[in-house]
C-alpha cells in the first residue's frame, strides 16, 4: 500500500468544530440537564461518546482501501434499507414525538436515516462512475441513478421525517448535477422537486402554519412564532461580543432544547457576532476544503462523493443557521458537528472519513492527471 495523504486542514477544521460544539452543548444543556437529570454533563458525555464512536468509524472508513468503498456500497445500501424498515417494527423501533426514526437498543438509539444520506450518495456516485457518467443515456443510466434514492426517501418520509427526505433528495440532485446532468434535466428535476415539495408542504397543515409564522413570527409570538422569536432574542442580546460563555439567558428553557437545533442561537448569544462570523468562517473553510477534495479526486466517483457530502454538510449548516436567524422557514435540521445528536454526529464523522479517504486518493497526491484513468483498477493505482 502506498502512504496515504489525508487532507489535514479538513481534519483540523472538523476537530475545531467538534470542540466548539462540545463547549456549546455543555453551555446550552448544563443548567437544564442539572435540573432535570441531576447531571450537568449528561448531554456532553453522550455527545463525546458519539464523537469517539464517529471518529473510530471515520478513521476506519478513511483507511479503508478506496476500491472497497465501491465494492461494498450496495451492501451498505441494503443494510440501511433494512435498518429503515426495522424502525417500524414494534419493539425494535423507538418512537419519539410520534415519529419512528430510531432503532432502540437500551439507552443507545440508532437513527438509520442519518446513514441513508451517506449510502445514497455512495451508491449513486458508484453507479454513475461505473456507467462512465453517461447520464444522457436516460434509460440505462439516468433513470436507474434516479431510482437509487427513491426507496430511502419513501421509507424516511413515512417515519415521517420530511427534513431528511429533502436532504437526501437534494444530495441526489447535486450528485447528478455534478455528474454532468444536462441543463434541461436540471431545470426539470429542480421544478419537479420544488413542486413535490410544495405539495407535500401544503398537504400537512402544520407545515403551512410553520411557513405562515415564519413570514410573521410576531403574529403569534407565544405560539407558532415563539421559537424563532426566542432565537432572534438570543442573537440580539449577544450583540457584537456576546454575553460571555455560559451566560446565555435564552437557554434557560426559553429556547426549546437549545443543545440541539438551536445551539447556534446560544452560540450567538454567548459569543456574539464575532462568534457567529467565526463559525461561518469555519464552515466556509470546511466547504472550501471539501470541494478541494472533490476537485482533486482522481475519478468521477470520488468527485461526486466528495461534492455531495461537502454540500450536504454546508447546506445543513446554512439552513440550520438560516432558521435560527429567521430567514429560512423552520426545518428541523441540525448544525453539523455542533448540535447534540449521536446518530447525526456519527454519520457526519463517517462522511468526513469518506472525504478523507477520497482526499488520500486525490490526483494532487500524484502528479497532475492529464488523462482520465478508470478508477479502482490495478492499472489506476499503478499509474501513480
Amino acid at each position: 500500500m502506498k502512504a496515504r495523504r489525508f487532507d489535514l486542514p479538513l481534519m483540523g477544521l472538523v476537530v475545531v468544530l467538534l470542540i466548539l460544539g462540545l463547549v456549546m452543548v455543555q453551555s446550552a444543556s448544563g443548567p437544564v440537564a442539572a435540573d432535570r437529570l441531576d447531571d450537568p454533563w449528561y448531554y456532553v458525555k453522550r455527545q463525546l461518546a458519539a464523537i469517539i464512536v464517529g471518529i473510530i468509524g471515520g478513521v476506519g472508513i478513511a483507511f479503508t482501501p478506496y476500491e472497497w468503498l465501491r465494492r461494498y456500497a450496495w451492501a451498505a445500501y441494503a443494510a440501511v434499507i433494512i435498518g429503515l424498515i426495522l424502525v417500524f417494527v414494534p419493539g425494535l423501533g423507538h418512537r419519539v414525538n410520534g415519529a419512528s426514526r430510531w432503532i432502540g437498543m437500551g439507552s443507545v438509539n440508532l437513527q438509520p436515516s442519518e446513514l441513508a444520506k451517506l449510502v445514497c450518495v455512495l451508491c449513486m456516485a458508484h453507479f454513475i462512475d461505473e456507467k462512465g457518467g453517461r447520464l444522457d443515456d436516460v434509460k440505462n443510466v439516468l433513470l436507474p441513478a434516479l431510482a437509487i434514492p427513491v426507496p430511502l426517501m419513501l421509507l424516511i418520509v413515512m417515519e415521517p421525517d420530511f427534513g431528511t427526505t429533502v436532504i437526501i433528495g437534494g444530495m441526489a440532485f447535486l450528485t447528478l448535477v455534478v455528474a454532468g446532468l444536462r441543463t434541461r434535466f436540471i431545470y426539470a428535476l429542480f421544478g419537479l422537486g420544488v413542486t413535490v415539495g410544495a405539495l407535500v408542504a401544503v398537504a400537512e397543515p402544520y407545515r403551512l402554519k410553520r411557513l405562515r409564522s415564519f413570514m410573521d413570527p410576531w403574529a403569534d409570538a407565544a405560539g407558532s412564532g415563539y421559537q424563532v422569536i426566542q432565537s432572534m432574542i438570543a442573537f440580539h442580546s449577544g450583540g457584537l461580543t456576546g454575553r460571555g460563555l455560559g451566560e446565555s439567558q435564552a437557554k434557560h428553557l426559553f429556547l426549546p432544547e437549545p443543545w440541539t437545533d438551536f445551539i447556534g442561537s446560544v452560540l450567538g448569544e454567548e459569543l456574539g457576532l464575532i462568534g457567529v462570523l467565526a463559525l461561518l468562517t469555519l464552515y466556509g473553510l470546511l466547504i472550501w476544503r471539501g470541494m478541494h477534495v472533490a476537485r482533486q479526486a482522481e475519478d468521477l466517483f470520488g468527485a461526486l462523493l466528495a461534492t455531495s457530502l461537502t454540500a450536504a454538510i454546508g447546506l445543513q449548516a446554512f439552513f440550520n443557521l438560516g432558521v435560527v436567524m429567521g430567514i429560512v422557514p423552520p426545518k428541523g435540521l441540525v448544525l453539523p458537528f455542533m448540535s447534540y445528536g449521536a446518530s447525526a454526529i456519527v454519520a457526519q464523522l463517517f462522511a468526513v472519513g469518506l472525504l478523507l479517504n477520497v482526499s488520500a486518493n486525490s490526483a494532487a497526491g500524484a502528479r497532475a492527471p492529464t488523462i482520465y484513468r478508470p478508477s479502482a483498477t490495478a492499472e489506476g493505482v499503478l499509474a501513480r
Binding site: 443548567p31 448535477v177 432572534m232 440580539h236 426559553f254 457567529v276 461534492t307 436567524m325
Partner: protein
C-alpha cells in the same frame, strides 16, 4: 501560460454547451464535475455571506420589539425585604423575632387538568388546607408561579416537594414570630403580609424595626425561577434595628396572670393592667384582656389586639380622688388629720344631690380617702376651685399625651373650668365627667409615689442597629413637680389606710409588702347614659408604701360575676402583681406575711394522741452544718449570723421562695407541685451563698 488555459476554457465551454455531445470524453466529464462542484461551493459560501449579512443587523441594530420582550421575559425586578428587627424585653427575652418559614409555591402550567384535583386533595390532607381553595389556585394554568400556602410545617417540606417535582417547590419567607405567644400581644402589635407593622410597637417603631429593602433585577428562567448566580440577595438587605423595651417579661407575666385570674373570678368584658416604675417612668408591664396570639395570623381577631391601656379612656371614678386630695393638701387647704363633714352621706349641690355609698359624718381627710367619700372630695374641690383643680389634674398628666407614642392612643377628657357648673366640679373630683387611660392613671400615680415629681412614661429603652450599635437610648425624663414632697408623702399615708381593715382595698394587700392604693367603682357610660349595671372596677396602688417602687393600675371593665367593687374585682390582681414584681425586683419585704387560708401549709400530721408528731431530724451526714431545732416556714436568724432551714415539706414553690427570699441563699427547685424533700434537712444552718435543694411533686 495564459493561452492553454484559455484553450481549455473554450474547449469545455464548447463541450458543456454542445446540444448533444453523445459519448462524453472523460476528461471533459471530470472538468465539468470540478466546475460544477466549484459552483456549488461558491453558492454555499454565498449563502454564508447572506447569513453574515443577516447576522449583522440582527445582532447589532437596536430592535425595540426584541429588546422589550427580552427585558420582560429574562428578568424580574425583585424586592428583598430584610428581616424585621427583634423586640426584646428589658432582660433580653425575645418578645418578637423573625424566622424563615417555608412557603409552598406552585407552577400550575406544569399540571394537567386531571392532576389538579387529586393533588389539591392530597395537599389539603398533608397541610390542613382547604382543598377547594387549592384546586382553584392550581387550576390557574396560565400562571407559572403562585403562592399556595405561606407557612407550612417544616416537616412537610420534603414530602410536598416530591409530589410533583418541578411543579411544587418551597420558598423560604421571613415570618414574624412571637415566642411568648399572647404575652404582651396587644402592646407588641402585629405585622401584615407586606412586612408592615399594623399595631402596637410593631407599628409605632415600624421605621426602626423594618429592615432595608434590597431592590435588584433578578435573572429568571422560563418558569420564573431565579437563575442568578450573584449569591444570596437576602444578605444584601440589612436587617432592621432591634428594640429593647422597658417591659420586664417576668412582671408582664405576673400582670397577665392577674388578669387571667380576674377573668375567672369576675369575668369582665375587658381588663387592663399597667405596671410602672415610679422613679424612672419605665413601663414594666402592659397587659390586656381580651388578647390573642399574634402567631395565628390567619385566624386572629384584630379587635382582640386592642391595647386598651392607651386606647380606652374610662371615667376613672373614685381612683381619681387621691389626686384631688393631693392637690388640696399641696395647696394647704387641708391636712390629713383635718376634719371634714361628710353630711351623713347626702349633700345637695345646686339642683343635684350627691351621695356616699357608705354614709359618714365628720371624719378626717385621711378617712375621706379611706372610705372614698364623694361628698368629702367634692368639698375639697370647691375649696380649691375648678381652675386650680383642672390645672392640677393636667399637671398630673390627664388629657396629655402619655409620650409612649403608641398607635390609637387617646388622651381623655376634662371639663373646661370656665363656666363650669358646681355639680360638674363636684363630679369631676370623684372621677365622673372626665376620662383617663390606664397609662395616664399609672403615670399620675407614679408622680405621687415619686415624691410629687412626674416622670415621663417610656416604653423603649434602647434601639440598636443590626451590628449592635446603639441608635437610641432613653433615659428617665423628669417632667415637672406636680405636688410638694410633703403633700405626696401625706397622700401616700392616707392611701395606705385604704388597704387597712375597714378600708375598701383590703383584698389588694400584697404578701409581705406594704402598699398604698385607692379603689374605684365607676358607673359605665353606655350609649351616652350611666348604665344601671355596668361598672368599671379598678384599683390603683403604690408599693411598697414607705418608699414606692411600683405604680400599678388594674382595671376590670364591666365585671359580670360577683361583686363589682373595685377592691374586690381589681384588688386581688394588684396584690398578685405587686407581690411577684417586688420579689422579682429583690425589694425587701416590709410587713409580715399574713397567713391566708387558701395558701396555708397543710396541718401537721397528727399522731394517735391527736398531737402533732414530733419532727425527727434525719441523721447527720456531714458534721459541718450546725444542727438547730426545726423552725417555722421561714429562715430564722441564728446568733452566728447563719439561718436555720425551716421544714418546707408540703409547701408550694412560692412558699419556698418566700421563705428564703432576701437571705441570699441559692435555691435549686426540682419538679413542681408541693415539696417532698429538701437538702439540707430542716434545722440545719445555712449561710448566705449556700445552696438549698428542694424536690417538688
Amino acid at each position: 501560460m495564459n493561452k492553454p488555459v484559455a484553450n481549455d476554457l473554450s474547449a469545455w465551454l464548447g463541450a458543456m454547451l454542445a446540444p448533444d455531445p453523445g459519448t462524453v470524453d472523460r476528461a471533459t466529464l471530470m472538468a465539468r464535475a470540478r466546475f460544477r462542484a466549484s459552483l456549488i461551493m461558491v453558492g454555499v459560501i454565498l449563502g454564508y455571506v447572506v447569513l453574515a449579512l443577516r447576522a449583522v443587523p440582527l445582532m447589532l441594530m437596536p430592535d425595540d420589539r426584541l429588546q422589550a420582550k427580552a427585558a420582560t421575559q429574562f428578568q424580574t425586578a425583585v424586592e428583598v425585604e430584610a428581616p424585621r428587627g427583634d423586640i426584646l424585653g428589658r432582660d433580653g427575652t425575645v418578645l418578637a423575632t423573625s424566622v424563615e418559614m417555608p412557603a409552598l409555591r406552585a407552577d400550575p402550567s406544569k399540571l394537567t387538568a386531571e392532576q389538579v384535583g387529586p393533588l389539591a386533595r392530597e395537599l389539603a390532607g398533608m397541610l390542613g388546607l382547604d382543598a377547594a381553595d387549592l384546586t382553584e389556585k392550581l387550576s390557574k394554568s396560565e400562571r407559572r408561579d403562585i403562592l399556595l400556602a405561606s407557612q407550612i410545617s417544616p416537616d412537610a417540606v420534603d414530602a410536598v416537594e416530591k409530589l410533583v417535582p418541578g411543579a411544587l417547590w418551597v420558598d423560604y419567607q421571613s415570618t414574624r414570630f412571637y415566642p411568648g405567644r399572647a404575652l404582651a400581644a396587644s402592646l407588641l402589635g402585629m405585622v401584615g403580609q407586606n412586612n408592615q407593622g399594623l399595631e402596637g410597637i410593631e407599628r409605632s417603631l415600624d421605621k426602626q424595626l423594618r429592615g432595608s429593602t434590597y431592590r435588584f433585577v433578578q435573572q429568571r428562567d422560563r418558569r420564573g425561577r431565579n437563575i442568578s448566580t450573584a449569591g444570596d440577595a437576602r444578605a444584601r438587605a440589612h436587617a432592621g434595628d432591634s428594640v429593647t423595651l422597658t417591659i420586664e417579661p417576668f412582671i408582664q407575666r405576673a400582670a397577665e396572670d392577674a388578669l387571667d385570674q380576674m377573668m375567672i373570678t369576675s369575668a369582665p368584658a375587658a381588663a387592663i393592667a399597667v405596671v410602672m416604675d415610679v422613679k424612672t417612668g419605665e413601663i414594666l408591664a402592659i397587659a390586656n384582656r381580651p388578647n390573642a396570639n399574634p402567631n395565628d395570623v390567619s385566624t386572629i381577631d384584630v379587635s382582640a389586639m386592642r391595647n386598651r391601656a392607651v386606647a380606652d379612656a374610662h371615667e376613672p371614678g373614685s381612683v381619681l380622688k387621691p389626686f384631688v386630695v393631693g392637690l388640696a393638701v399641696d395647696k394647704g387647704i387641708n391636712k390629713a388629720e383635718d376634719l371634714i363633714d361628710c353630711e351623713g352621706g347626702s349633700w345637695r349641690v345646686g339642683n343635684s344631690i350627691i351621695n356616699d355609698d357608705h354614709p359618714h359624718g365628720v371624719v378626717t381627710l385621711s378617712e375621706v380617702v379611706k372610705y372614698s367619700s364623694n361628698i368629702g372630695t367634692a368639698k375639697l374641690a370647691f375649696a380649691m376651685g375648678a381652675e386650680e383643680m383642672m390645672a392640677g389634674l393636667k399637671r398630673f398628666g390627664f388629657t396629655q399625651p402619655s409620650g409612649l407614642n403608641l398607635p390609637s392612643e387617646v388622651y381623655g377628657f376634662l371639663r373646661n373650668p370656665k363656666g363650669i357648673r358646681p355639680i360638674e366640679v363636684a363630679t369631676t373630683a370623684f372621677g365622673q365627667g372626665m376620662t383617663a387611660t390606664a397609662v395616664q392613671l399609672a403615670a399620675a400615680l407614679a408622680a405621687v409615689g415619686n415624691d410629687g415629681v412626674r416622670m415621663k412614661p417610656y416604653l423603649v429603652s434602647e434601639v440598636r442597629d443590626r451590628l449592635g450599635y446603639v441608635r437610641l437610648r432613653n433615659r428617665p425624663v423628669r417632667v415637672e413637680r406636680v405636688i410638694s414632697e410633703e403633700a405626696a408623702d401625706s397622700l401616700v399615708k392616707m392611701m395606705i389606710t385604704v388597704l387597712e381593715t375597714g378600708g375598701t382595698g383590703t383584698k389588694a394587700r400584697p404578701e409581705g409588702f406594704s402598699a398604698a392604693g385607692k379603689t374605684g367603682t365607676a358607673q359605665k357610660v353606655v350609649d351616652g347614659h350611666y348604665s344601671a349595671t355596668a361598672r368599671v372596677s379598678s384599683f390603683i396602688g403604690l408599693t411598697p408604701a414607705n418608699d414606692p417602687r411600683l405604680a400599678i393600675v388594674v382595671i376590670g371593665d364591666t365585671p359580670t360575676i360577683g361583686s363589682k367593687y373595685g377592691g374586690i374585682v381589681a384588688g386581688p390582681g394588684f396584690s398578685l402583681i405587686a407581690t411577684r414584681a417586688l420579689r422579682y425586683l429583690g425589694v425587701p419585704e416590709d410587713v409580715p406575711i399574713e397567713p391566708k387560708p387558701k395558701l396555708a401549709p397543710p396541718p401537721p400530721a397528727l399522731g394517735p394522741d391527736g398531737l402533732p408528731l414530733p419532727v425527727v431530724p434525719p441523721p447527720m451526714a456531714m458534721p459541718a452544718p450546725v444542727k438547730v431545732a426545726p423552725g417555722p416556714a421561714q429562715l430564722t436568724w441564728l446568733a452566728d449570723g447563719r439561718m436555720s432551714v425551716p421544714d418546707l415539706t408540703g409547701r408550694s414553690m412560692r412558699d419556698v421562695l418566700v421563705a428564703v427570699d432576701g437571705a441570699g441563699v441559692e435555691v435549686s427547685l426540682v419538679g413542681s407541685g408541693r415539696v417532698v424533700s429538701q437538702n439540707p434537712a430542716p434545722g440545719y444552718a445555712l449561710a448566705a451563698g449556700d445552696r438549698l435543694e428542694v424536690v417538688l411533686q
